[in-house]
């Protein structure tokens, strides 16, 4: 499986600038429902115009975090600041934040135009202005012809556009998107992802999006927060999350990865030698991270960085292990080779099918060599 890091749309990294002011700030926020801790002492700064994704399995607290920002839940302890203002006690209908609901929550008794106009009417906007804004929003989501339809007369994709238009109509400072594309099929979802990014860029909004779809998060986000058990395990750009996960949890959650357990046998600066049970030679990696000599560590490497060949590679600088081809998965664009190492572990290698191979040179039960350069993998200490 080829995983691109996503288009680099602009040089935008306020989180690296120590003088940048946080737009949304969660300060030691904890939310408990009875005995259950949904969000656990969490702090994070999100910046203006950022596309920030909350990624994690269900029950990790990502939706609770968003609902607290929208005002549907109040934190048990801690503060949430928006543009420097404490949001405590501010009811949802007074927050300059709009949400696109997972179920869309369109008002079934109102037409598409009335749904979009709803928020504007609450603000007491003059009628001609409302009409103009609604027309503008309909054009943005390409639904001009459907203005007078009721939600039940629309397809899933159209409803999702109405929900987006309704949430955008008030020009909120922050748009919250709760699994916005969950109900769409794959093709439509990919298309809409790019549309969302365009809209966010054009209107200069701050987007906070909750998703459990890692591809969606990778494609759209400036930064991703991978959550587990109410905490943010790692907050980083999609490329960093993918290439430098800080734990096995993150590495395993995003994309596919090979993990080999071992101990650090030698350490020279960032270069570590890792001996793993059942392998003849230690693995050499240039990304030792915080590992110390003698530590139990996990060597992690993405399958697409592992080369598979029938002959041993000549370059002595490469890490090489040999094994038996256990399984081959043909996915069209790539093939995944699952190789059984002498110690019984399975290691995956993906190979892009750059030619129309009818006969594969590598078959089941072949003895094959897996190799990778020293900088391809990294060590994880947790």
């Amino acid at each position: 499986m080829s995983k691109s890091v996503g288009p680099v749309k602009r040089t935008f990294a306020p989180w690296l600038d120590p003088n940048a002011k946080a737009y949304i700030r969660f300060e030691n926020v904890t939310k408990k429902f009875g005995d259950f801790t949904a969000v656990d002492n969490l702090s994070i700064d999100i910046y203006e115009r950022e596309f920030f994704s909350l990624l994690g399995p269900s029950g990790c607290g990502k939706t609770t975090l968003m609902r607290m920002l929208a005002g549907f839940d109040e934190p048990t302890t801690g503060r949430i600041l928006l543009d420097g203002n404490d949001l405590a006690g501010v009811p949802p209908y007074r927050r300059p934040v709009n949400m696109m609901f997972q179920s869309y929550a369109l008002f079934p008794h109102m037409s598409v135009a009335d749904n979009i106009a709803f928020g504007l009417k609450q603000d007491g906007m003059p009628k001609p202005d409302i009409a103009a804004r609604v027309a503008e929003m309909l054009k943005l989501v390409k639904l001009e012809k459907f203005a007078s339809r009721k939600p039940h007369q629309l397809s899933g994709g159209q409803r999702q556009r109405v929900a987006l238009a309704r949430a955008l109509a008030k020009r909120p400072k922050v748009l919250l998107l709760d699994e916005p594309l969950g109900a769409l099929d794959k093709k439509l979802r990919e298309e809409t992802q790019f549309e969302l990014m365009d809209i966010q860029y054009e209107l200069g909004l701050t987007f906070l999006i909750v998703t459990h779809d890692q591809e969606e998060a990778m494609t759209m986000s400036d930064r991703i927060a991978v959550m587990d058990l109410g905490r943010m395990v790692q907050v980083a750009t999609p490329a960093e999350i993918y290439e430098q996960p800080n734990s096995r949890y993150v590495a395993d959650f995003i994309g596919d990865i090979n993990i080999l357990e071992g101990t650090v046998a030698g350490l020279e600066g960032p270069v570590a030698k890792v001996s793993s049970a059942g392998l003849d030679k230690p693995i050499v990696t240039e990304h030792a991270g915080t590992a110390k000599s003698g530590d139990t560590v996990w060597f992690a490497i993405r399958p697409e960085k592992v080369r598979i060949s029938l002959d041993p590679p000549a370059d002595p600088a490469l890490n090489v292990v040999s094994g038996e081809v256990w399984d081959i998965g043909y996915l069209g664009d790539v093939s995944v080779y699952r190789v059984k190492l002498p110690n019984g572990a399975i290691m995956k290698s993906t190979l892009a099918n750059v030619t129309r191979l009818v006969e594969r040179p590598i078959g089941w039960d072949d003895k094959a060599y897996l190799s990778w350069p020293r900088d391809a993998g990294l060590l994880l200490t947790s």
Binding site: A70, G71, F72, P91, P92, Y93, R94, R95, V97, N98, M99, F101, S103, A105, L106, F107, P108, H109, F118, G119, Q122, D123, R166, K170
Partner: protein, 301 residues
Amino acid sequence: MPAPSAAGGPTWTKWLVVAAPYLWLLVFFLAPFFIIAKISLSMTAIAMPPYVPVFDSLSSLGEKLGELSFENYLWLADDPLYWRSYLSSLRIAFISTAMLLLIGYPIAYAMARAPKSVRPTLLMLVILPFWTSFLIRVYAWIGILKPEGLLTVALQALGLLGPTEQVQIMNTETAVFIGIVYSYLPFMILPLYAALEKLDGTLLEAASDLGCPPMKAFWVITWPLSLPGVIAGCFLCFIPIMGEFVIPDLLGGSDTLMIGKTLWNEFFSNRDWPVSSAVAVVLLLILVVPIMIFQNVQRKV
């Protein structure tokens, strides 16, 4: 397989299923209604049954048409007792339906917003009164409302009434309203609850998110979406209240006019079957016309 399919095959059975409700309506509604309409067009007689029959057989239909008498209907228009009964019934039905809605809506709303685990219990409590005979429950109200009844005793015990004072509710219109609202409340609550329970809570969150305070959200979201339940509940109450006979007879005084009571008197005390049939036909028309208008409007929406 049951007999119909053995007798006629699949198409037959299909038709039988479709025909069953129509057959039911024909036998138990249209046919009796036709008999009543027929009686309403005949003359009173001291006989058994107490009227001169019109068009007994189809062969003599032509000549007998001339014998049809609309005198009973003219009589209804002439005597102010009847139209005053109709108007009074309409008024009482309107007021009690409005009161039922006013009382039933908050109850249904609270039930629909209650935790899921207690909802079946609340629903059970609403239906529970049906386990006792309707008549007994209305009689029970006499025990409560009569001057020396439970209400007087309770109010005296609380010191709200002097030891010699008594509540004067029995045999008034107030007692009729109390009886009607009490008896019909489940019929209002159940359709309202069904409509409100279906309401998606995230719609209210969405409204709030878009800047709509809760009170306003109730009127722009909850109320319009519960309208089908409101309409169903109002019809379910208004129509039977309009023809209500037991409650005004037991709890109301002689000055509480309701068409059901008038009809009963006409039928049993006066033994005037033709006039009471005419009263029934007019009552039906009064109720059917607004229902048809309503259904027409519904279809256009």
